[in-house]
Amino acid sequence: MSAGFALPASRLPRLASAMDDRWLLNACLWLPLAALLLFFVMPMGFIAWRSFMQEAGGIGLANYAALLDTPGVWRATRNSLAVGASTTLVTLLLGFVFAYGLERTCMPGRRFVSLSLTLPMLAPSLVLGLGLIFILGRNGIVGKVFGFRPEIYGFHGLVIANVLYALPQAVMILRAALRGADARQYDAAEVLGATPWRQFRDITLPGMRYGLLSAAFVVFTITITDFGNAVVIGGDYTVLATEIYNQVSGQMRFGIGAVVGLLLLLPAALSVWIERVAAQRQAGSGADGAQAPVPQPHRLRDGIYAIVCVGLSTLIVAVVAIVVVAGFIRLWPYRLDLTLRHYDITVSGGYASLWTALWVSLLAATLGVALLFLMAFAVRRLTGWPQRLATLLCALPVGVPGLVLGLSYVFAFNQPQLPWGVLYGSAFLLAMCNLMHYYTQGYVTMMTGVRGVPVQLEEAVGVLGGGVLQLLRDVYLPAVRVTLWSVAAFLFMRSMVTLSAVIFLITPMLSMAAVTVMRLDEAGFTAQAAAFSTCIMAVVGSVALLMHVLTTRAAARG
């Protein structure tokens, strides 16, 4: 993502002591870049190598050729593109409404809307799948009330499920973009007599170009790499992610799976190029804003946004709530008396995995925020090939399906003769894997936030003789505090519930909460899986809330 191109570093003020702490600036880049190389590029290198290892032995392009002969692969590609495009369109539209409603209007219920949007991020994918089936399935509530059997399985259901999954991530990015705008531009427009529509078209939209592009790219990519929804709601509708599963888990063939995994990186790489082109066109309109716009009450506008946002949020809450309720019901949907018996988890290990997951996820979130913040700062301040390399690499992780990422970690780290082999089977490696899984979303959000840091403040630091440290501490850190928090919460939540990569890294001694949900579900204890998911959501919610309170308090104290 092109953040670095949005505001060429040459336009930024030179720091007084720039020569002295150039090394510090470089360290800000190379520390996260080294982590990215070790925990993403190196494992993916092993996948690339696998894609050339032929089933019959030897090295060559046989897997690439075999892919073309795999029945149904073109259909899966077409389907993936169709689902990806539709999901992106719907998600961007809704995401914009949500983000705008939350950041730029005084609509009532903002807190409710904001909280409900975290639900799809902190819910295990089983919850979203089950919830949709309970509501929209052939034997679901909607069908029962209206007396027919809805057909959710297939394209439409998949788009609904993916929108539900992708919407919060799009809103996270779009909100960061809206936060970076400059109130004075609107004031000027107001003075010049510009209509609200004109202001929206000429100020808001251009200012959000990057946010919209980034969000579109993230949504499209997570949709085409997602496996969880495709397998539960997709029915017979095959997509590339399920094709990889067929190859790897169905037929124990890594070659073609590796090829598809690499091909799925293409949209991510393409997006970097597209954004670079867009950045060149837009050069010169970097917002030097100091004050974020403060929304004024406007009854009609606020009312419309409230109806749409609160309405949709209620639907999101309903999907999750019905699964929570089912965890307290004796036998959904046949015997509806209340019970607590599903909370007596029967699989071995019980609730222990919940606490392991908690520590792993806190580690992932802490390391992630630190690395991403340094990365975003360095990418904005530096130029040259390392910066361009970092920009490219940061965009790629989102293009890797979890299953491929997990496999790549086994290939790369189950190597006792290599120094990093000692990490295999450790909680640290799990944390890094989860961080890499969601790295791009975190980076995009962070970059969008960093882009809004006012240049004047940087100038002030320069004039006062401050260096990189002062710049980080006094300008960047305070300016992106809200974004830091949202990235940390995002990484924490996703790390708690992600599954597809994790199943390759758990050991008998080290399991994760999402794995327990999967084990319960596979053993047929659906209600227990719902109950355990409820516990996960409760723990994640409490921790996120606690982190939020602590950060706000720390900030208030200064």
Binding site: T346, P416, F504
Partner: protein, 340 residues
């Protein structure tokens, strides 16, 4: 001024986590077993094994058949487990897995029938599971449908859109169902049956137990799945009836073997012996429809399933070597002729 103590504490706990949780090495007295057996049975087997072998700590990693296969093969250059315990024989016969195993004639393996153990002693199977339909009785009642008893029944037009099957390309259960039909009916008859079945199938689901879950939730009337899933659903109280198809229920053996790379072969061997012991056999009758250990009384599960004492009456004697060998060709044909 930020709190420096807090910072160093955080740093300290970070390093502690990293070092403390860095890959624990296998210790004497500990073995790691990779298995695809079901959760509740594993729990009881491990507890019983602990009683009989108090000095051996059996650590278990449970994944579904397909996921476990990917994990085992990905780790093959440096395996992390000592034994494979109860994993689909069709998958274990894959040459890339088979070459990881070391021949070991477990105590009691010689008493197993020849089809239940390897000629070269690389594996033996103490238990197995079989295909079954999960039929939702409420949906049948609501739609006024008759109870199906065979695969042929499922091809009748009344069931159109109410049958869900596992996708054989992604699910071992799906493959064992169609492989048994093809072996029994012959190439031509088998594919003809599958194609006419296809007309009624609403969905090919990507896992073997999910069709049963879809049926028990009332999403569809019939899910072709496993007897285990059907019985578990009945026990949970769902309005489900288990039907063993009278014209050939496919089945799978759950094979175990010793890893060449095991660092604790002595204990690993003792554990493998244990899985054929009388204690184990008694426990198997609690969970398993198919127990291969001679002299084991008919299991509760088999009785509940209404199976005859002589299983060969309903189980088509699957040729596992053949079904492993033909897998790629059959799946290729399936994807071309039927796959969606």
């Amino acid at each position: 001024m930020k709190l420096p103590v807090l910072h160093s504490l955080r740093l300290l706990s970070l390093t502690a986590t990293v070092t403390a949780l860095a890959a624990p090495l296998a210790q004497a007295g500990t073995i790691v077993a990779y298995t695809a057996l079901e959760e509740d049975e594993i729990k009881e087997y491990v507890a019983a094994a602990k009683k009989d072998l108090p000095d051996v700590d059996v650590k278990v990693l449970r994944l579904s058949t397909g996921d476990l296969g990917a994990r085992i093969l990905a780790e093959a250059p440096n395996p992390q487990h000592d034994v494979i315990w109860g994993w689909a024989l069709t998958n274990l016969l894959d040459p890339r897995v088979n070459e990881l195993l070391e021949p070991y004639a477990a105590k009691g393996a010689d008493k197993l029938s020849r089809s239940d153990r390897a000629a070269d002693n690389k594996w033996f199977a103490a238990t197995g599971y079989m295909a079954a339909f999960c039929v939702n009785t409420e949906v049948l009642k609501a739609k006024n449908l008759p109870m199906p008893t065979s695969w042929k029944d499922l091809t009748k037009p009344v069931y159109k859109g109410e049958v869900v099957m596992p996708n054989p390309v992604s699910s071992g259960t799906g493959y064992l169902q169609i492989a048994a039909l093809i072996q029994k009916e012959g190439n031509e008859g088998g594919w003809k049956l599958l194609k006419s079945l296809d007309g009624n199938v609403a969905q090919y689901i990507k896992s073997g137990s999910r069709p049963c879950k879809a049926a028990r939730a009332g999403e569809f009337a019939i899910g072709t799945s496993l007897a285990f899933a059907a019985m578990q659903s009945v026990e949970e109280g769902f309005p489900v009836k288990m039907v063993i198809p009278s014209d050939g229920a496919g089945y799978e053996l759950e094979a175990s073997g010793l890893m060449k790379t095991s660092k604790n072969k002595a204990d690993a061997r003792r554990f493998l012996d244990w899985t054929l012991s009388p204690t184990a056999a008694t426990l198997y009758t609690k969970f398993k429809e198919i127990v291969t250990i001679p002299g084991t009384p008919q299991s509760k599960a088999a009785q509940a399933a209404g199976l005859p004492k002589d299983l060969s009456k309903v189980l088509y004697p699957v040729d596992f070597a053949r079904s492993a060998k033909e897998r790629e060709a059959i799946l290729g044909t399936w994807q071309k002729e039927i796959g969606r």
